[in-house]
Subunit: 381 residues, 2 copies
């Protein structure tokens, strides 16, 4: 095997590097020179999709190995007009809900696996701010991201939705794969291949409320999430549907026991204290999510109420800590890991868009210790 010498450019480059005292990165051209082929060929064995003879391929692979070649991703992205980056927009990764989603997604990207799977996840905390969401999308567009996963979390107002739709359609048209996860579909031209993953929030909330009613609860406080979020709306709708079914006339009473709050623990705590102060009796409280339920439970305990003897408490999401609260939290499992995996497959194109573009993942009622029948001798809120 004949080893060609690097061309003049490279010679100069290396010369400079030596002068300046640090080695420069190995380039395609150097690999090519070493393997005795052109850089085009090296590129082709590295990227596939083009026939390369076995011997040549071997020689190139060996040169890559020997030189410890690491491809320059920006250069590749520039030439190919698309990068290996996948943007993941979440409310906040520090929140377990999004952490699990993002973590599962990132792992499913499997960038260190063999072959083509070199997608890197860029996570962006939008903190529920529509402007931040748009701004991040702009940055990702600038990065020529190969895909973007938008998860729920940012408020859904029409202006923002429109601005988002513009950006998203431009990116999708340019070849970026877009996945909406846990948020409603965007008003986009139908032709765009944008995937949507939703959770059966409504069904879960329905089953949870039914569970409470079956236990005998008739006065169920509901700590709804922030208004304007589809998640909030769906869960509330499911809840109400269950109540209405049992007691078609009683919806007024329910409304009075429904409070909108944030998605944080403190929101649950504050809302519950407010509910307690109002003095309207209830025997159970269902929260927008586990975190809120936890805050609610703390407020109830502080008020001297026992869970579940005096008040039943239920959450939503089934985050890991739900089994370790006191008592373990009845909740609705949301398949976050599955969603992350699915999102990863969709955003990388490893899985084809389902018909209609939308996949709804099932939720599951998890009955645990925090809910029980209302007892006769209970203390009243």
């Amino acid at each position: 095997m004949e080893v060609h010498t690097a061309d003049e450019t490279m010679a100069r480059t290396n010369g400079r590097a030596e002068e300046e005292g640090f080695e420069m990165a190995v380039t395609l051209a150097e690999v090519a020179a070493r393997a005795g082929v052109s850089s085009a060929t090296v590129s082709r064995v590295l990227n596939g999709g083009y026939p390369v003879a076995g011997g040549t391929r071997t020689r190139v692979e060996q040169a890559v190995e020997e030189l410890g070649y690491i491809a320059n991703a920006p250069a590749r992205a520039l030439a190919a007009a698309t990068s290996d980056l996948v943007g993941v927009l979440v409310h906040d990764v520090a929140d377990s809900f999004f952490g699990i989603l993002a973590g599962s997604l990132q792992s499913a990207l499997d960038p260190t696996g063999p072959g083509e799977a070199r997608r890197l996840a860029v996570v962006c905390n939008t903190a529920g701010d529509p402007a931040a969401e748009t701004a991040y999308l702009g940055l990702l567009e600038g990065q020529r991201a190969g895909g973007v996963v938008l998860t729920g979390g940012a408020a859904e107002n029409p202006d923002h939705t429109a601005a988002l739709a513009v950006r998203v359609s431009r990116m999708a048209a340019a070849g970026t794969r877009v996945v909406l996860c846990g948020r409603p579909p965007l008003p986009l031209p139908a032709a765009l291949p944008v995937a949507t993953i939703t959770f059966d929030d409504r069904g879960g909330a329905f089953r949870l409320a039914e569970h409470l009613m079956t236990l005998g609860h008739r006065h169920i406080a509901y700590l709804a999430g922030p208004p304007g979020l589809s998640t909030t709306r769906e869960r509330l709708a499911g809840h109400r549907a269950a109540l209405a079914r049992h007691d078609p006339a009683g919806s007024d009473a329910c409304a009075a026991l429904t409070v909108h709050a944030g998605f944080e623990r403190s929101a649950g705590y504050d809302a519950t204290r407010e509910l307690l102060r109002r003095g309207r009796p209830f025997t159970a409280v269902a929260a927008a999510n586990d975190t809120v339920a936890t805050g609610a439970a703390a407020a109830l305990r502080e008020a001297g109420l026992r869970i579940p003897e005096d008040v039943s408490v239920a959450g939503f999401d089934d985050l890991p800590f739900a089994v370790d609260t006191a008592p373990a939290l009845t909740t609705v499992r949301v398949p976050l890991r599955e969603a992350g995996l699915l999102a990863a497959q969709l955003v990388t194109g490893r899985r084809a868009l389902p018909p209609g573009g939308i996949t709804t993942l099932p939720t599951e009622l998890m009955v645990r210790g925090s809910t029980a029948p209302p007892t006769a001798g209970r203390r009243r809120p």
Copy 2:
């Protein structure tokens, strides 16, 4: 103001775009043409660091605005030999410890803020696998990442450490800012500007053990983390130091009550059952972290033991759920958000390297309901 027409190249480009039916991204050259300046000038107003007359600047900014120009990040990265990407290696973002760290870091990067702050965080789950850690570093090197934050989590064996050191020094030499967070310094050439952030694990563990001893506990089980991790070592060392101080002779008994386990809930559960099975009495168990403590508590409760009446339980980290376990968990607060913020400042160069390159963040004992004096009439494990 005279508006120049785009040059021929652009005309051709746009022509092609129109034919193919989708608009191509606005380029620097188009902005330049519109502002009546050269693309070099546009680049300069966008990147600063070069004098540009006020009027020119205004004109350029206006053109950028009108055209909705979004810079091509890969092109910039190629030309500048460095990208806006910051790699964050964590065990798993789904784990609150790392989720909080990564979330705080990402937010502190403030990429949607004004001006230069356009760093994007690439998060990588290493799952504790040294090979994955090295592989991710390679990918980030290929991305010409502007910075990398390595957090704890991967096993620390000599081979791996050496391999890591090679990669890290090459990247650092090439201008990538490297921050080690919650892991020991790497054996690197001293000249390299690598920052290290550590937590006072030893001090925290010491104070926690002292707290237990002060309560009157003398038989303290210790569920240590995976062997070979500096975090494990430090926490264990602090724990032992406190015990030795109270009872210089009793270290043997302690050793028998020390078990190494993983960092997951199940590890705490299993280890505690094992401890129970052994039948060696203890009145308290201190765990490697809150998650493990939670598993331990579950095992104890299952065995019919009350917390803290029969056995005190303590964790480490003070993750958010620690206040909501039953009872609330005594633990040691690790300033994760502060660490994330600091790491962000260091990795972006917004904060200078401290002398010696190493910053140790303090930990704080959080006494809550899960620890109490051993009672006389308690049930024995």
